[in-house]
Symmetry: C2
Subunit: 134 residues, 2 copies
Amino acid sequence: MANRPRPARRRTTRQLALVLAAVRAAGTEHPTAEEICRRVRRVLPRVSLGTVYRNLQRLVGDGLVGVAHLGSRVARYDPTPAAHDHFVCRSCGRVEDLVAGPPAAGIRSLHRAGHEVTAHALVLYGRCRDCRSA
Amino acid sequence: MANRPRPARRRTTRQLALVLAAVRAAGTEHPTAEEICRRVRRVLPRVSLGTVYRNLQRLVGDGLVGVAHLGSRVARYDPTPAAHDHFVCRSCGRVEDLVAGPPAAGIRSLHRAGHEVTAHALVLYGRCRDCRSA
DNA sequence: CTCGGTGCAAAGGGTTTGCATACAT
DNA sequence: ATGTATGCAAACCCTTTGCACCGAG
């Protein structure tokens, strides 16, 4: 039988740790890769955006951080890897986390048709309280 | 007072009509701009992708076609402009339309917090019947 | 010492835009 | 005749990748 391709032992680097820390430090801000890069550079001024992307990919793959595409073109990273939904304010852009509400009706009708639903992405859009009162 | 910027009278061109026709002809396939461009070129071989994009933007703005970002980076266009959700098969990529199921729970909790929800985007992922039986 | 991670810079894919020309009005 | 829409190509934005060097193991 073929040698299975060796599992490639992974190293933990300063950059990796700092990227993870940056995602977590951003709290609820759902930072972009660029924002994360800026933050990491405060400590390690020479990190490249490429490295940030590579480490983000790895962290997402390992389930340590989440990614969300919230309607714009850029990916936003999220310290909460568990499935959850988002609310985006169309005036100020703020992003709020929501507990994942499995959309029961849609799932039921798909199941009836023989399809299997394994995940979902839900983004709610509107105006946040602050923008409404302004 | 300043002259208000004149409302720019819009022209209807062969290209515009063909782009709309192409979106509609694709039926339930949710074509990409590139696919639409290919179809339009069967009639008008010299249309540019740029023109297709400009016309798609206009049609979306006018509410004649819908756009959906279904997890990948490419925008997919939809002859059904009314709000509705989507199911994407992770094996074969097929896209199924769903009647819009307003995610009541999420909206309620946001409303309680003072936010106003005006729209949503829901994508369900899974395996379609055909891929499950294969 | 190894070989996976890094920095850099260039390539890539999707979409937008500047410009001279074509054409709907 | 007027000026919007077009075709072309270059620019854009976000992300990925190739390569030589660096440094964790």
